[in-house]
Symmetry: none
Subunit: 224 residues, 4 copies
């Protein structure tokens, strides 16, 4: 957007718009296209179209469709990891920290639908590209480490049940948050409930918080 053409003449000229800018534009366009259509169905031409460049230029920058896709995936994972860095959980009591993680995750999926779509798309492709990129495989672990720390604190304080695997907790949080986005169209259509960013997001998020906290807090109930 902001497609302003300064003058007719410039159309015929080369436009060495600084490579970083072009790279970023292409990456953004590719993210949108891959998120929208998946790897196979995504079109290099469509990406070029979103950028006012050409397929040839994209290949010049990224080498191939797959390398471009990997760059997109890498950036998407890097972004969520960076967002998680701002979570500041240490100052919160365990249950509040869990609540914040759940809410953050839920909201991130809702507001970064492209990320969810990319992850789903990569799974539909059976993780082919992820497997080939060691850099990518390392990228998504920190959140579980954070979760583990909080759960440990909660155990020590006696407010969290102690027989739970942090990975299962992460899975539950991710599953309940993702489903809201991934299945919004079929679920929404069949059950007439607005999903994703539409409808009563806050209430749906509250249900998820409820599920997770009830589950983790049931320690006390058991204790009695």
């Amino acid at each position: 957007m902001a497609l302003q053409l300064p003058s007719d003449r410039t159309l015929a000229m080369r436009k060495p718009k600084s490579p970083e800018v072009n790279r970023a534009r292409i990456l953004a366009a590719a993210t949108a296209e891959f998120a929208a259509r998946g790897f196979d169905a995504a079109s290099m031409d469509a990406i070029a179209g979103r950028t006012q460049t050409t397929r040839a230029l994209i290949n010049y920058y990224f080498g191939s469709k797959e390398k471009l896709y990997l760059a997109v995936l890498q950036q998407a994972y890097a972004e969520i990891r960076e967002a998680e860095n701002g979570l500041d959980l240490d100052h919160l009591p365990p249950l509040a920290a869990i609540r914040r993680i759940v809410e953050f995750t839920y909201d991130y999926y809702v507001s970064h639908e492209y990320f969810v779509r990319l992850v789903v798309s990569e799974n539909q492709a059976k993780g082919t590209h992820l497997k080939r990129s060691p850099a990518l495989r390392r990228v998504n672990r920190p959140i579980v480490d954070r979760l583990s720390a909080v759960i440990e604190r909660g155990r020590a304080a006696g407010v969290l049940r102690s027989d739970v695997d942090p990975l299962d907790v992460h899975m539950a949080i991710a599953a309940l948050g993702m489903f809201n986005v991934t299945n919004q169209f079929t679920f929404g259509t069949i059950f007439q409930r607005e999903m994703g960013a539409k409808g009563d997001v806050a209430q749906r998020r509250q249900v998820v918080v409820d599920i997770v906290l009830t589950w983790l807090g049931s320690a006390r109930a058991q204790a009695h």
Copy 2:
């Protein structure tokens, strides 16, 4: 499924296959292809290849790629609904009935990965095709009706919390079960945990049962 061939001889013969058989074969092949690659990336040629027919015949039977896809989707939804019919929940106490629903759902997704992939694929396509087919929209409701009935029984018996929306319960069950299949590749790769049909399915299913039952059963805890 139940792809009964008219007689043993026809197996060895080439051409004269009855139209019903051909239709069924094509549908099966199309299901596999659409589940594997998604609507856009799926290839009519590949479907023809899996059968012993040609692209032209497929168009002759189904009209177009999209109509074929709708037939696939319709059959997939019909199959899970039929499976749910065998659930026989009325003879079970409420909590056991819930447990059965969770386990059934979890297992169905694991053993019918193609169904999950089709649903995901349709969602990645933003529900375009589902929206256009009224028949499809009606197809998946009964499970929620069953769930509602069980929850009502549970409320009456005082073993289930009363402030819960059956649709939320269905969502939680579906989300936790689907995630196991939909995200098996990224989750499995990043966290080194076998997902989907691999690894310790029973234990992972138990976690989901635990989450759901704890959540729904917390009524008693609240009551006290």
Copy 3:
């Protein structure tokens, strides 16, 4: 050539011109193109252009560029073998038979330049395609068998030297005949001598006959 367009309407219609005709046309056009430019540089578009069809149709018939090339090669070898079948050497005395083989070979190369160019092209490609096609490997042997038989007759009659390998004879005949075609441009330009089908073909052919017959007939000289 003769690209007569009967009427404007026919352009819009399909033209199911009988597949054999189309196949043959494509094969002829492909032969010309591959002979003219070699495998890599040959263009499917150019072949389509020579045939008033499209690249897609060519792939429909032949599957791929390489398969088309193999079909061309196969036909080219088959043609020369068939021509050799008409040689009728048995009724000729040995030296006359050798002469006929040399003359036939020389003339065939001159009048079927495309064959020579295909063979050269395949050699420039290091025989990659020939190696992959067992059918092709078998195709060019008969001429050496014929040669062997004639040489044997000549030995028995005492008119041909006996210490010569038929394969070497074939090589000499082929080499001297091919060079005339393969190197016509550099040799012709540098030494101002018309080569190939131009200039005094009969005289140049006579030199080759002379070389071969002198060589093979030198038995008698040795004998004295």
Copy 4:
């Protein structure tokens, strides 16, 4: 050839290579590429890849793909001419001199396959580039002059037949030597005989010597 680097240090360093060295490296890489794939199929990128430079630099040095190709051709012809200069035929009796020429030519083709491939490639291109370069046309004559001188000596000595055109002799020598290299793949594959630099080079060379000397020496037989 004789690609002497200014100092040992420069090998480890990246950029500051003297232009002469770069030119020579590019020329060597281009020779290999053009010999390997022919003019059309050769890739400027591949040439750049074999060097540590870029396509742009090659164009900067040589102007265009065709000019680069002409430089390659020119150098290739210059090299064989230079090699022929070391032949020192005057001290040899005529038949021995012929033998040396044949053996030298045969060996040169075997050991400088790239030269043969370039010549063939240029002929496949119908001599287009050679024709345009007057410098190139002048370059390959001396060998025939040498041959003429030897034949004249042989005639005078009565050991060589007198009715032979030196150009025909050159052609025979070149043809028999080149075929061994140019057709090594098809001939070798079809007749299971190792050609080119492989197999029994000495024996195959001896056959060629035999053919040429028998032909030229047949004067004596005729004389008697």
